[in-house]
Symmetry: C2
Subunit: 215 residues, 2 copies
Amino acid sequence: MDEKSISKAVIRRLPRYYRYLGELLEEGVERISSNELSSKMHVTASQIRQDLNNFGGFGQQGYGYNVPYLYAEIGKILGLDRTHHIIIIGAGNLGQALANYVKFEKRGFKVVGIFDINPVLKGISIRGNEIRMMDELPEFLRENDVQIATLTLPKAYAEETANLLVENGIKAIWNFAHLDLAVPEDVIVENVHLSESLMRLSYNLNRYNTEHKKE
Amino acid sequence: MDEKSISKAVIRRLPRYYRYLGELLEEGVERISSNELSSKMHVTASQIRQDLNNFGGFGQQGYGYNVPYLYAEIGKILGLDRTHHIIIIGAGNLGQALANYVKFEKRGFKVVGIFDINPVLKGISIRGNEIRMMDELPEFLRENDVQIATLTLPKAYAEETANLLVENGIKAIWNFAHLDLAVPEDVIVENVHLSESLMRLSYNLNRYNTEHKKE
DNA sequence: TAGATTGTTAATCGATTAACAATC
DNA sequence: TAGATTGTTAATCGATTAACAATC
């Protein structure tokens, strides 16, 4: 059955709500109205109420939202109430940086394997994970429960590696390679295209300069 | 004067057009119609024509778009026709990974300085840049032409560092710290929130599983 | 009960798609 | 000239904002 599906725009905002609620929680704030949250986050109160109501009535008239409750609920929606096992394919600078990033594990994203094709890297340990060679991957996936594969490898290898992952049952790819992966429709790809981010920054910088020159 | 401003949605797509055109260029393709590009990129031809027409009439009726020309024009729009000097604040794993990433330089983004507060890192050289201590930053910015500052440091230091950068004339921040920076309106911030990206992936994974369980 | 604030419907705004006249 | 394809206007669709009745 199709639930009425939730727009990407809403999903994009969800982690940001989660972050602000987490901060409020740390400050010991018990309750917050859509209006207060609105002025903190610089979005409209209306949008906050609409967004949250996609998932259920988390608030209470005359009271607002209970911070610990709403925080936990959004966490559940985002799937942060359970542990995800991640492997990293490509143990270059970026792959190693991600493997070293401690915060992910606090959110339930645990790196359980790191792979590369470069024999020089074989056996090097990063936070308890020894870098493995790619030929060990299929067996590893058979023997371990892995939900997410991270691609931090050169563009040229990305497509074939994605295929290999899909063949071995991976359903979610966190893709840092700068290309659009062609995968079956039941496989989820989340792209992080750093160079595109940098280009947008450059565009805005450029635009700003141009506009102000003209005045 | 306000030019009729271009929507963020269009800007988000621009680097992707640039990438596809770059690939066509490498393949030696001379011309392409919005229709052909549309089926390659999985967007509507109408959207392509609308998007490009925000910036000018780059095509020709009956012919389509000239690939080398359009590629160069989009490059100009994105500001890729000139060199941007970047500094990196925070020489941890991620900062070093970015400093090592060779591709950025090919697009005109040149790292000219790397800074940290950890004395252990002082003097370590990354692709020709020695890591400097933060107290050298103001002088460095006075003596060098820097357009973009990258923040790859713990959240706790991000706000004060952003202020320091702004005080010293920086107008564009590429922010990897997981918070919303409060900066004057003439300062551009481009956020890369990796943990939010991971949460979106987790949401979609979760959603997929749930939907299919119900059937 | 009165006041506050949600949940939700209706109105507005903006972005995408369709259609087609202009023109190479 | 005829055919192709853009540039652009109009129609549609979806997302955001406003308004307010429901209700705690």
